[in-house]
Structure formats: structure tokens, C-alpha cells
């Protein structure tokens, strides 16, 4: 790392994550493609929350850190049914993005 240091006030929150399905969803194996841009180019971590139409929501741990702008596929173990997937990102400075949702129907 080089150059002048960045003060916390200078840091911008990551953009809202871009979510899309990567292929047709299958029970217990739903591939979700995610991309997050950070205005400062900081690395980002993601948190998913999957809420079913009825039943208990699944709260996933924060993912490991990805490069800003990098597209990554995550595999989520969701059972058959309709789910609302919510994702938010945080950068290395713990600044969090707004959330994005994606409706997923798992056959």
C-alpha cells in the first residue's frame, strides 16, 4: 500500500450489489451471480438473507472479501419454494451498502 492515508470520513459505501441467477435454480443448489462496485475500489464482503414465502429465514455468514467489480457465483442451499433473497455488501472499512432483493423460485 502506498500514498497518503485515507481518513474514515473519506470512505464511500459500496454500491448496491447486482444480483442475478446463474443458471436454473435447483433444490439445495441455487447459483447466484453477484457483483459489487466500491467507489474507492475497496474489497467487499457480502451477506445474504433468504426469506421463504412461509417458514424460517436463512441468515448466511458474511462471505470472504472480493475485489470491487469482480463477479462471483455463490451457491446457496435453498429448498423448493419461493424465496426472497436479500444481499448487502460492506467494504474493508465496514461501510455498508443498501440492500438488493431477488425473487427466486426453486422447483
Amino acid at each position: 500500500m502506498s500514498g497518503c492515508a485515507k481518513l474514515p470520513l473519506d470512505n464511500g459505501a459500496p454500491a448496491v450489489p447486482e444480483l442475478s441467477l446463474s443458471g436454473p435454480p435447483q433444490a439445495n443448489n441455487v447459483a447466484v451471480e453477484v457483483m459489487v462496485d466500491d467507489p474507492d475500489g475497496d474489497r467487499v464482503s457480502l451477506k445474504f438473507l433468504a426469506t421463504p414465502a412461509s417458514g424460517v429465514a436463512q441468515d448466511f455468514a458474511w462471505t470472504s472479501f472480493l475485489d470491487s467489480g469482480e463477479t462471483e457465483v455463490f451457491y446457496l442451499g435453498l429448498s423448493s419454494g419461493t424465496w426472497t433473497l436479500t444481499a448487502r455488501a460492506k467494504d474493508e472499512w465496514e461501510e455498508e451498502s443498501k440492500t438488493r432483493t431477488l425473487e427466486i423460485v426453486v422447483p
Binding site: M1, S2, G3, A5
Partner: protein, 223 residues
């Protein structure tokens, strides 16, 4: 080397380096400066350890540093328009930041509260240029040695380690003469020479890196 021995070594070095300044000050007017110091280094930790699988630690929010400095300046006569002076003294400070950690490709965890304390001494030379009746501008160069103490809080437990670093500063100080009390402010760049050095934190080893150069600011009074 244990912490008390490190501290004793530091005090010894400071005495050796500041005694000549004190002797010089006995012959020429000397001024002591107590200043607030902002030493804004880009200190970075990035290391991968094997704790139940590869675990990577890296810091964030590590850049804000606040501390102080106490210096003795010597050289020159009250009416000199230009003179080469010497200075030396201590500086200290503390910064807090969060240490991120993750299992790469799997998950990340809540960041850890981490602090970095610094105690060091500095010696240098400044070229004092009198501007009008009230201002003195003094470009300076200085060399310094820093003792850094890293503390990571995991749960209710503290894990600590130490490292020595060497560096130098270049910058300029402006002094406004207001009778017996002068105001001094300065800005410059600080550069750490041993860029990458290990902190031994219990049985873990952290590589720390500092940027090639980082801004340095201070504001204080001269007595």
C-alpha cells in the same frame, strides 16, 4: 527482548541523543516545544496464518493517529535572520483500528478491535528563516526511531506484540512569535525505512507494512 528492556533501551538512546542538544542549548538560546502531533501513517497488516485452515488478517480504519511531541530546539541568536538549528525529543501516540479477518473463499468474521501505540524519539536539523517581525519559517529534516505496540482484542483477551521501526521526516515549521509564548505549526512527510517488519503477537506473527511516505502535521506552543 522484553518490553521493559525495550523501554530502557529507548530512554538510554534518547538521553544519548538529546544531551548534545542540551549542551548546545547552554551556549545558545534554546526553546522547548510542546505540540499536538498528527502522524498519519498508512500502516497496513496483511498476513495469512493457519488457524484451523488458512486465515487471513488485514486491517481497516487504521489511518487516524493522534498524539503529542515534546521537542527541544537550539541554535541561533534572537536577532539572527537566518540560522541552522538543531532539535530533538520524544513523540508518542495511539491509533485504533479494526482488524478484518477471513477464511479466504469461505467467510469473514466480525472485525477485531485493535490498537497501535507508538513511542519514539527524533533528532533533526532546521534552517530558520526570519520573515518580518513575527514569523519564522523553518524547513526541517529529522531521523527517528519508533517503538510500536500492537494490541488485538479477541473476546475479553488482549494479544500484544512489539516492533521497532526507523524513519525520517522532511517538512516545514512556521512559528509565530507572540512574546514569551510562540505558536508553532508544521507539516511534512514521514517515511518509514524498514517498510515491512514483523510483530510477534503471542504465537502469531503479523507482517506490518507502512507506506513509503505519509503526511505529518503538528501544532503547538513554544515556551
Amino acid at each position: 527482548m522484553s518490553s521493559p528492556r525495550l523501554r530502557n533501551a529507548l530512554w538510554g538512546l534518547v538521553l544519548i541523543l538529546t544531551l548534545p542538544l542540551a549542551a548546545e542549548g547552554a551556549q545558545k538560546p534554546s526553546r522547548s516545544v510542546l505540540a499536538l502531533d498528527v502522524f498519519n501513517t498508512d500502516l497496513d497488516f496483511d498476513t495469512t496464518l493457519d488457524i484451523a485452515g488458512p486465515t487471513r488478517f488485514f486491517s481497516s480504519r487504521h489511518n487516524l493517529y493522534a498524539g503529542g511531541r515534546m521537542m527541544v530546539h537550539s541554535g541561533g541568536q534572537p536577532d539572527d535572520t537566518i540560522f541552522l538549528g538543531s532539535f530533538g525529543g520524544f513523540f508518542w501516540g495511539k491509533t485504533r483500528f479494526m482488524m478484518n479477518w477471513e477464511e479466504p473463499g469461505i467467510m469473514s468474521f466480525d472485525p477485531l478491535d485493535t490498537s497501535l501505540g507508538t513511542l519514539g524519539f527524533v533528532v533533526g536539523k532546521d534552517l530558520n528563516l526570519r520573515v518580518g517581525n513575527f514569523l519564522t519559517v523553518a524547513p526541517y529534516v529529522s531521523a527517528k526511531a519508533l517503538w510500536m505496540h500492537l494490541n488485538i482484542e479477541i473476546g475479553d483477551e488482549d494479544f500484544s506484540g512489539n516492533a521497532f521501526k526507523l524513519g525520517f521526516d522532511v517538512g516545514a515549521k512556521i512559528t509565530a512569535r507572540l512574546g514569551s509564548l510562540n505558536l508553532a505549526a508544521g507539516a511534512g512527510l514521514t517515511h518509514i525505512l524498514n517498510d515491512e517488519i514483523e510483530f510477534e503477537v503471542d504465537d502469531l506473527t503479523f507482517d506490518s507494512k507502512t507506506s513509503g511516505s505519509a503526511p505529518q502535521y503538528f501544532l503547538g506552543v513554544e515556551l
